[in-house]
């Protein structure tokens, strides 16, 4: 059971990394494109407001990060602080949920 959970966490982290690699490239390309000729909040909102494609993209980006980061943080906590067991699992789950909630809230804020 433990081996299975650990393995699926590993798979989830690698799979989310693949999604993040794609999302980060798109995100950076967008930044480079967006700053041509200055950058303003109005310009960003003009691009994202009411645009379902950007909302879907940034929601995917947020969810991939919310899966990827807590699993990595879990390893860091285990190796650097010796924090293992159930309490660590609860902490990183809450951390991931917080990332997802804050990220999705931000994505929604520039959409609507």
């Amino acid at each position: 059971m433990r081996a299975r959970i650990e393995t699926w966490l590993w798979i989830a982290q690698r799979a989310s990394a693949v999604v993040l690699a794609f999302c980060v490239v798109v995100h950076l390309a967008t930044i480079v494109h967006a700053v041509q000729g200055g950058l303003s909040a109005a310009e960003i909102l003009a691009r994202t407001r009411g645009n379902g494609a950007w909302l879907a993209f940034y929601s995917l980006f947020v969810l991939a990060a919310a899966v990827h980061a807590p699993i990595g943080l879990r390893s860091v906590l285990g190796e650097w602080l010796g924090w293992r067991g159930r309490s660590r699992g609860v902490f990183v789950f809450l951390f991931g949920a917080m990332m997802a909630a804050m990220g999705l809230r931000a994505a929604m804020a520039v959409f609507g």
Partner: protein, 239 residues
Amino acid sequence: MERDVLDVRVWRGGADGAFQSFEVPRHPSQTVLDVVTYIQRSLDPTLAYRFACRVGMCGSCAMTVNGVARWTCRTHVDKVSEGGALSVAPLRNLPVIRDLVTDMREFFDKWAAARGSFTGRRTRADDFEAVRPDSPDRVRADAGIECIGCAVCYSSCEVVSWNPAYLGPAALNRAWTLVCDERDAGKAERLRAVAGDAGCHACHTHLSCTARCPKHIAPTAGISGLKRAVLRAAMKGEL
């Protein structure tokens, strides 16, 4: 001009011990094991250390020489001394019994925990099971099978120092050679044993084991192979 005397610092005592300095005459083609043996035979007979074959076959004389885990019998002083100075300490990541001798129990217990023993299907009444020398699995097993259990890799592994439950490069390399053994019947159980936080998924691929292995084995490659094998088993629901 090199001095004809070596300044040697040798670890004395247990984990809370300290280095003791000795002066050892220098000789051509002198190995670090020669130096340690000279100290015990001529300067201080209470020095504890291990060795057996003296020719790189048994794996019992590994120590930390100038900060790096090595076989002392196959390490020439000329190659590692820094301005005629040498420090010799016990292997890292293992409990020190005394002086240069470590307790190897946890190292070998982890081989057992990684299901490092062969599980056959045939009995003595059956004929030999033929394995083609050029089959891909046999070639992969060959790459890791020459390990003699010296613990140089285990001592060099940062992950072992962070996560004492980590099985370590040698045990995982052994498990990988058995995963590649087409005659072995214990694969599912072995993959369960090596998956997870104490197993192959904990490896950071720092490659210290691969860089330091005196047999030029690449445990990191075997650990990557285990990750792939565990992934396949998980996808098939066999984990």
